[in-house]
C-alpha cells in the first residue's frame, strides 16, 4: 500500500466521520434552535395571556454571592439584589479571603455589624473568620469573611449559613433582572420534584439596567462582546432549552441558578476541588437522584434573566473558556460512569454523549479537521472548490441559526434593536462561526495543559463597574 493509498483511505474515513459528526451537530443545532425559538414564543404567548403564577406567598430563597476581589462591582451587585421584586429572601455575601477592599466596602456601604454567629457546617468548607449582619435593609444581608478556598468553597459556606430551603448561586459581577427570582422559582411551583433551576444568563455589555429593568438595549461596542452575545443565544440558550425538554440539563451557569438546599446538602454540595463547580454540581445532582431513586427534575427558566459581563478582551475570554473547559473535563471525567449507562437514562445517553462529542472533544475534533484539510491540501487530495463551498454552507447555516436564536430572543422579550445593531449582528455572526469558534477551539484544546495547578483559581477577568442605577 502506497502512502497515497493510505492517505486516501485515511481521508475517506475522516470524511465519513466528519459527515456523521456534522450531520449530528447540524441536526442538534437545528433542533435546538427550533425548539428554543418555539419555546420562547410559547413563553411570550403565555405571558401575553397573563398565564402567570403571581404569588404573594413566596417560597423563601437565600441568594449566595461568592466574592473574591470584587471591590469594583460588589456594591452595585448587592444594590441590584435589594431592588428585586420578591418578598421573602436573604442575601449572603461570602468573601473568599479577598485581597482587596471587598469586605470593607460592603461593611461601610451597608453599615453592617459584626455578630458571633455560629454556622452549622452541613457541607465541609473553610472556617469563617468573621460574620457581619444588618437588618435595616429590605431583606437581611449577611457578609461572611472566610479563608480563601475557591468559589465552590465560598458557595458551600453560603449554603451552610443560609436560612431558607432554596438557594440561588450567582456571580458577584452579575445583575439579576427585577423579576428574575419570581421567574426562577416558578418551575418549583409547577413541579414538586424540581431540585435545580437554571436561569438565562445574558451579556449585559451594551445594556442599560435601571432598578433591575433594562431601559435601553443595544449591541455592545466591542466586537468581541458582540460575537459572544450571538454565541450565548445559539449555544447556551437554544441548547439548554432542548436539554430542559429532556430533563437532561447538565449545566446550570454559576452566574444564576436555583437549587433545593436539602438535595444539594445530601449530594455533598459544591466540589471545591474542581474548576467547573457549577456543572459538577448539576451532574452530581443527576447522579445522586438517579442512584437514590429520588424523583427529580432539573429545569431551565428562559425568562429568569441574569445580566452578566462578558469579557471584552481576548485574553480574558481565553482565560474564561479555558476555565470552563477544564471544569467540563473534570465534571465529565468524575461522572464518567454515566456515559451510556441505562441507569442514568437520557442524561447518560443524550446529554453526556452530546457534551462529550460536541463540547469536550469538539476542539480536538475541529482542530483535527483543520489539520486534516491542510494535510489533504499538501497531498493534493482535496477538492478546493468543494471545500470552499462546504465551508460557506457551514458558515451560512450556522449564521442563520445564530441569527434566528438571537432575533427570537430579542423579539420575545420585547427588546428594541436599531437597524445598525441588526446589521452588526448579521455581519458578526459569520465572523463568530468562522474565526472566533476556531480560535476558541484552539484555546479549549490547550486548556487541559497544566490545569491541576489552577484548582483554586477564581479565573479572574477584568471587571468594569456595572451601570446599575
Amino acid at each position: 500500500m502506497s502512502a497515497r493509498d493510505f492517505y486516501q483511505i485515511f481521508f475517506e474515513y475522516v470524511g465519513i466521520f466528519f459527515i456523521l459528526y456534522l450531520i449530528g451537530y447540524a441536526s442538534f443545532l437545528f433542533l435546538a434552535v427550533t425548539v428554543g425559538t418555539s419555546t420562547l414564543y410559547s413563553c411570550k404567548k403565555r405571558n401575553m395571556l397573563k398565564n402567570e403564577l403571581k404569588n404573594d406567598y413566596y417560597i423563601p430563597v437565600s441568594i449566595i454571592v461568592p466574592a473574591y476581589n470584587e471591590e469594583v462591582t460588589i456594591t452595585e451587585t448587592i444594590r441590584s439584589l435589594l431592588a428585586l421584586d420578591y418578598r421573602l429572601y436573604e442575601i449572603i455575601v461570602v468573601d473568599d479571603g479577598s485581597k482587596d477592599e471587598t469586605s470593607r466596602i460592603v461593611l461601610e456601604t451597608f453599615k453592617m455589624k459584626r455578630v458571633d454567629r455560629p454556622i452549622r457546617k452541613l457541607i465541609v468548607c473553610q472556617e469563617e473568620e468573621s460574620v457581619y449582619e444588618t437588618r435595616s435593609l429590605k431583606v437581611p444581608l449577611t457578609l461572611i469573611r472566610k479563608k480563601n478556598g475557591g468559589k465552590a468553597d465560598a458557595l458551600n459556606m453560603g449554603i451552610n449559613a443560609s436560612a431558607y430551603p432554596y438557594f440561588i448561586c450567582m456571580d458577584a459581577d452579575s445583575v439579576l433582572q427585577y423579576d428574575s427570582l419570581e421567574k426562577i422559582i416558578r418551575p418549583v411551583l409547577e413541579h414538586d420534584n424540581v431540585v435545580a433551576v437554571g436561569g438565562a444568563v445574558r451579556p449585559c455589555n451594551g445594556a442599560h439596567i435601571e432598578k433591575g429593568y433594562v431601559t435601553k438595549y443595544k449591541m455592545p461596542r466591542k466586537l468581541l462582546a458582540c460575537m459572544q452575545v450571538l454565541e450565548y443565544d445559539r449555544s447556551f440558550l437554544a441548547a439548554r432549552i432542548l436539554f430542559d425538554k429532556l430533563n437532561g440539563s447538565i449545566i446550570i451557569s454559576g452566574a444564576f441558578g436555583l437549587f433545593k438546599k436539602s438535595t444539594v446538602i445530601s449530594a455533598g454540595g459544591y466540589d471545591a476541588t474542581t474548576m467547573g463547580e457549577d456543572m459538577e454540581l448539576v451532574v452530581k445532582l443527576h447522579a445522586f437522584c438517579r442512584e437514590n431513586r429520588v424523583p427529580y427534575s432539573i429545569r431551565y427558566a428562559t425568562d429568569a434573566i441574569c445580566w452578566t459581563q462578558v469579557p471584552e478582551k481576548l485574553g480574558d475570554l481565553c482565560k474564561q473558556r479555558r476555565r470552563w473547559h477544564i471544569g467540563l473535563f473534570q465534571s465529565m471525567y468524575r461522572h464518567r460512569k454515566m456515559f451510556l449507562n441505562r441507569k442514568y437514562g437520557k442524561v447518560g445517553a443524550v446529554s453526556y454523549l452530546y457534551f462529550l462529542l460536541y463540547e469536550l472533544l469538539s476542539p480536538y475534533i475541529e482542530v483535527f479537521g483543520v489539520l486534516t484539510m491542510i494535510i489533504a491540501y499538501f497531498v493534493d487530495l482535496i477538492n478546493i472548490p468543494f471545500m470552499i463551498l462546504f465551508m460557506l454552507i457551514y458558515v451560512v447555516y450556522s449564521s442563520v441559526l445564530s441569527l434566528t436564536a438571537f432575533l427570537a430572543r430579542v423579539h420575545t422579550i420585547d427588546l428594541k434593536l436599531t437597524a445598525g445593531d441588526v446589521l452588526k449582528a448579521i455581519g458578526l455572526c459569520a465572523a463568530e462561526v468562522s474565526f472566533l469558534r476556531f480560535m476558541m477551539a484552539w484555546v479549549r484544546m490547550t486548556a487541559l495543559i497544566g490545569y491541576r495547578k489552577k484548582k483554586k483559581n477564581w479565573g479572574r477577568i477584568e471587571r468594569t463597574k456595572i451601570q446599575f442605577k
Binding site: 403565555r46 398565564n51 403564577l53 404569588n55 404573594d56 406567598y57 413566596y58 417560597i59 455589624k113 455578630v115 458571633d116 454567629r117 455560629p118 452549622r120 449582619e133 444588618t134 437588618r135 435595616s136 435593609l137 418549583v188 411551583l189 409547577e190 413541579h191 414538586d192
Partner: protein, 432 residues
C-alpha cells in the same frame, strides 16, 4: 294709647281686627262720655250765666229806678228850691247805696265773667280734645280701614294661594301618581330583567363552575390555577371545597403554596370557606391538608381545638402535624402549651422536627414553665432545636440575669446560639 304695639299682629302683616275694633269702641265711649260731661257742664254754666244775667238785669233795673228816683228828687229840689233835710239825707244815702251797688255789680260782674271765661276756656279745651279725639278716631278709622283692606287682601291672597296650592298639589299628586305608575312599570321591568339576567347568569355561572371544575381536572398547571382563580372570584365556599377535592383526587401536582395563596384570595366569606374545607378535611391528601391548615393559620385564630387534635394525632402525616403545631406559634391557645412542652422535653431523636417546631411555637407562651423548658432545650444536641429555643427564649424578653447561667455556663453551643440571638434581636430592633 297710641302705641301700635298694643295690637296683636295679624298673620298676614296687619293689626288684629278685634284689637282695633275694641280700641275704637273704647275711644268712642270715651268721646261720648266727654260729650255728655261737656253738655252737662255747658248746661250748668248756661243756667248760672242766665241767673247772673237776670241778677244783673235786676240790679240794672234797680239802678235805673234809683237814678229815676234821684232825678225826680233833683227835679223836686229844682222845682221847690227848698229841699228838706230828710230828703237830702235820703239822697245821700241813696247815692252811697248806689255807689255800693255799682261796685258790687262791678265786682260781681268781674268774678262771674272770670268764671265764665275759665269755663269757656275749659269748654274750648274740651272742644279741642274732642277735635283731637275725633281726629284720632278718624285716623284710626282710616288705619282700621287700611288694616281691614290689608286683611281682606291677605284673605284674598291666602285664598288665591290656597287655591293655587291646591291646584299645584293636585297637579303634583297627579304627576306623582303618574310617575309612580311609570316607576312601578319600570321597576317591574327591571326586576323581571334582573331576574331573567340572574337566571341566565345563574345558569351561566353553574355552567362556568362546572367548566372550571373540569379545567381543574386538566394536566396543565396554568389551566388549573386559572380555573381556581375564577372559582375564588365566584365566592362560593362549597364549590371551592368541591374543586379542592377534585384537584386532590387528581395525580397532577399543585403546590400547596399556590393552593394556600389561592384560598386566601377567595372573595366570599372566609369563615364559611374554612368550615366547608374543614368538613372535607378527612378526605384530603396530606399535601392538601397542609395547604388548608396553612390557609386557616393565616385567616383565623379560632381553630385552636381542631389544630390541637390534628397535632396530637399520631396517625396523621408528619408535615400535617407540624403545620398544625405552627398554628400555636401564631395564636396563643392555652390547652396546647402542655402538649408543646411535652414534645420539646421528651421528643426522640427521630422525631426531632416536632421538638424544633415546639421550641419555635413556645415563643408565643410567655410564662415561667415555657421559659424553663426553652432554657433546657438550649442544651439539646440538635442544632435546630437549640436555634429555635434561643430565638423563642429571646422573644420572652427574660431579664439578663436569668440568662447568666447559660452565658457563663460550660455549654459553648448553648452560649453561642443565645449570644447570637441576642445580637440578632438587637440588630432587628435597630432595623425597625
Amino acid at each position: 294709647m297710641q302705641e301700635r304695639g298694643m295690637f296683636r299682629v295679624n298673620i298676614f302683616g296687619g293689626y288684629n281686627k278685634e284689637d282695633v275694633n275694641n280700641y275704637i269702641q273704647i275711644l268712642e265711649n270715651d268721646m261720648e262720655a266727654i260729650k255728655i260731661k261737656n253738655n252737662m257742664e255747658n248746661m250748668e254754666l248756661k243756667s248760672e250765666f242766665q241767673k247772673l244775667q237776670e241778677e244783673n238785669k235786676m240790679l240794672i233795673e234797680k239802678l235805673g229806678q234809683c237814678r229815676q228816683q234821684e232825678d225826680e228828687e233833683q227835679l223836686k229840689v229844682k222845682e221847690g228850691r227848698e229841699i228838706p233835710q230828710d230828703a237830702l239825707d235820703e239822697l245821700e244815702y241813696l247815692q252811697q247805696e248806689n255807689k255800693r251797688l255799682k261796685e258790687l255789680l262791678k265786682n260781681s260782674k268781674t268774678e262771674e265773667t272770670n268764671d265764665l271765661e275759665e269755663k269757656l276756656d275749659m269748654q274750648e279745651q274740651m272742644k279741642q280734645e274732642i277735635q283731637i279725639l275725633q281726629d284720632n278716631k278718624k285716623r284710626y278709622e282710616e288705619e282700621y280701614k287700611a288694616i281691614v283692606k290689608v286683611l281682606e287682601d291677605a284673605k284674598l291672597s291666602a285664598r288665591s294661594i290656597e287655591e293655587e296650592t291646591k291646584k299645584r298639589a293636585d297637579e303634583i299628586i297627579a304627576n306623582a301618581q303618574k310617575e309612580a305608575e311609570l316607576f312601578r312599570e319600570k321597576l317591574k321591568f327591571q326586576i323581571d330583567k334582573e331576574l331573567e339576567d340572574k337566571g341566565i347568569r345563574l345558569m351561566a355561572a353553574k355552567y362556568k363552575i362546572e367548566s372550571y371544575c373540569n379545567y381543574i381536572k386538566k394536566e396543565n398547571l396554568y389551566c388549573r390555577v386559572n380555573a381556581f382563580s375564577a372559582l375564588y372570584a365566584f365566592g362560593h365556599p362549597l364549590y371551592i371545597a368541591k374543586a379542592v377535592h377534585i384537584q386532590d383526587e387528581r395525580e397532577e401536582f399543585l403546590n400547596e403554596k399556590i393552593l394556600t395563596e389561592g384560598l386566601m384570595s377567595f372573595d366570599g366569606d372566609h369563615s364559611m370557606l374554612m368550615s366547608s374545607l374543614w368538613d372535607e378535611m378527612g378526605g384530603f391528601s396530606d399535601r392538601t391538608q397542609l395547604a388548608v391548615i396553612n390557609y386557616i393559620r393565616f385567616q383565623s385564630g379560632s381553630y385552636g381545638a381542631e389544630m390541637l387534635q390534628i397535632a396530637s394525632d399520631t396517625l396523621r402525616g408528619k408535615e400535617v402535624r407540624l403545620a398544625a403545631m405552627r398554628y400555636f406559634g401564631k395564636y396563643y391557645y392555652y390547652p396546647a402549651q402542655a402538649f408543646l412542652l411535652e414534645l420539646l422535653d421528651n421528643c426522640t431523636q427521630e422525631d426531632w422536627e416536632y421538638a424544633v417546631v415546639s421550641a419555635s411555637a413556645l415563643g408565643n407562651y410567655h410564662d415561667p414553665k415555657s421559659t424553663e423548658a426553652l432554657k433546657r432545650a438550649l442544651y439539646s444536641s440538635n442544632w435546630y432545636i437549640r436555634r429555635n429555643a434561643a430565638e423563642s427564649l429571646i422573644a420572652h424578653h427574660p431579664p439578663f440575669k436569668e440568662l447568666t447561667d447559660i452565658i457563663n455556663g460550660p455549654d459553648r453551643y448553648a452560649r453561642e446560639i443565645l449570644m447570637y440571638q441576642l445580637e440578632s434581636e438587637e440588630l432587628k430592633e435597630k432595623g425597625r
